[in-house]
């Protein structure tokens, strides 16, 4: 069925069977633009979900968790990682969030983690500098995000390479709608490896508290159980690595392709924080997340039954011209307006301050300062991909050395 415009909007379930997952992966923005205009809450068979694509509707969903629950039934994330705070609502979500969030607040980020971010960035830059060229995602953004993450979580013995592999294997599992047994085997091996690392870390941190997330969850006023800690560590490894990696790649690419903005930022490095925020809006690293209705409800002109599975498309909301002027442009001068790149409401990104500091205040200024003449190498095309998670897949760069 094509877009069903014959039924009255308030009672129709508008179907968008023209949406193809391959198109969403390659370049979702033209698809989103059509959905926003024609069917802002549409049943999309290819995604097996209702996609919510306008800013106002996404914001509404985020702020009505009683109707739009994060606790999705049949969630692959729950199957792979256990029941983390990301898939909980209300008091149980708040309790875990409070325990896990202490090390992620601005003061801890500034005093405890930012010096460590500088050391991690410096180490990678020293390794890269003499080569004169690199693939920036795999050689800097990913290992940088992984090194920061393992220290914040409290698994310093784990190598950044292992953490990156586990993150990818678990994320592949959460997206394994094709039920591929090879993918399940890999994600199960990764979750077992995380649990093995936790078995070593928990007694140590129970006896010797430190500044890490695991320690905070163990020693909270209302401490979390080992199963709760395990699920929350797994979801943090999944999410805490992709997002800073992807926004870093996108922000570098944006500056390399917008020379006037780059010149201004290099003249006034305080603008790197604006670059970071605009990159999160422009190409949101988390492009879509699920919600499920707890009752029949009207949203964006569509009538949704109870139990409807939604895809909340932040990647589209942040390009909605009803909210942002000329939304497809990367523009650090655009009037400051709230975007939804970190989500909003109760599930507002717990790692937002870590990302702002590690990417906006440390990695971006250090990269442009220490790799003079940074530019696209032109050896291969720059590639971006993904819609549930979106970032650069290949960012070949060169610099003067």
């Amino acid at each position: 069925m094509a877009l069903d415009q014959e039924l009255s909007p308030a009672h129709s379930t508008r179907s968008a069977d023209w949406v193809r997952l391959d198109d969403l992966h390659d370049d979702p923005y033209p698809v989103y633009a059509r959905l926003r205009d024609e069917a802002p809450v549409a049943w999309v068979p290819a995604a097996n979900r209702y996609l919510v694509t306008r800013y106002a509707n996404v914001h509404h969903v985020d702020n009505d968790p009683e109707t739009f629950s994060a606790d999705e039934t049949g969630s692959l994330m729950k199957r792979v990682m256990g029941h983390s705070l990301l898939r909980k609502d209300g008091a149980s979500h708040a309790r875990e969030r409070k325990a896990a969030g202490v090390p992620l607040r601005p003061k801890a980020v500034k005093e405890t983690w930012t010096p460590l971010f500088r050391r991690n960035a410096e180490r990678l830059l020293v390794e890269m500098r003499d080569a004169g060229e690199a693939e920036l995602v795999s050689q800097f953004a990913a290992p940088y995000a992984a090194a920061n993450l393992r220290d914040i979580i409290g698994l310093p013995e784990v190598s950044p390479e292992d953490l990156t592999a586990w993150s990818q294997a678990m994320m592949d599992g959460t997206g394994n709608y094709a039920d591929d047994p090879t993918v399940w085997a890999r994600s199960e091996a990764a979750t077992q490896a995380v649990d093995d690392a936790l078995a070593e870390a928990l007694p140590r941190l129970r006896a010797n508290p430190d500044d890490s997330m695991i320690s905070a969850m163990l020693h909270a006023e209302d401490p979390l159980s080992p199963a709760e800690i395990s699920a929350n560590v797994k979801v943090t490894i999944g999410g805490g690595l992709n997002e800073p990696r992807d926004v870093l790649g996108v922000a570098v690419w944006a500056l390399l392709t917008h020379p006037e903005q780059r010149t201004r930022v290099l003249t006034d490095p305080r603008l790197f924080s604006v670059v970071f925020d605009e990159a999160v809006r422009w190409t949101s690293p988390i492009g879509m997340y699920p919600r499920q209705t707890t009752r029949e409800v009207e949203l964006g002109g569509a009538m949704l039954p109870a139990g409807a599975r939604l895809g909340v498309v932040v990647g589209s909301a942040n390009r909605d011209p009803r909210q942002f002027e000329d939304p497809d442009a990367f523009d650090i001068d655009r009037p400051r307006k709230a975007h939804l790149g970190f989500g909003s409401g109760a599930h507002y990104c717990l790692g937002a301050w870590v990302a702002k500091a590690s990417v906006g205040q440390v990695a971006l200024p250090m990269l442009f300062d220490q790799l003079p003449g940074l530019r696209l190498s032109g050896r291969r095309p720059v590639r971006a991909g993904g819609w549930v998670f979106r970032g650069l897949l290949d960012l070949p760069v060169a610099w003067d050395h």
Binding site: N63, P106, R336, A338, S344, G345, Y348, A352
Partner: protein, 108 residues
Amino acid sequence: MPKIIYNHADGTHDVVDAPAGTSVMRAAVTGGVAGIVGECGGQAMCATCHVYVRPERLAGLPAVSEDEDEMLDCAAAGRDSERSRLGCQLFAGEAFDEIEVDVPESQS
């Protein structure tokens, strides 16, 4: 019903009657008051509901908590050591029966 007056930089103001238990942030977001974002939904995590309380309305407000204090240092508009508060931490009927606040020019 408790009353909240939001003064904007352009000289206009909004007045919202807020049921007891509603925060200055929530009343603004649900009442369509511009300039208050409330990104994190009221967890003192985002500093996008920063307001300057009018001096004559400061008496009787609860003390700034450690979390709120930390977040006010991150607000986009400059912090005023006397008047700056997070709107999500001031609740109608508990903190005030009537309050008047100035909305900063920027929250992000």
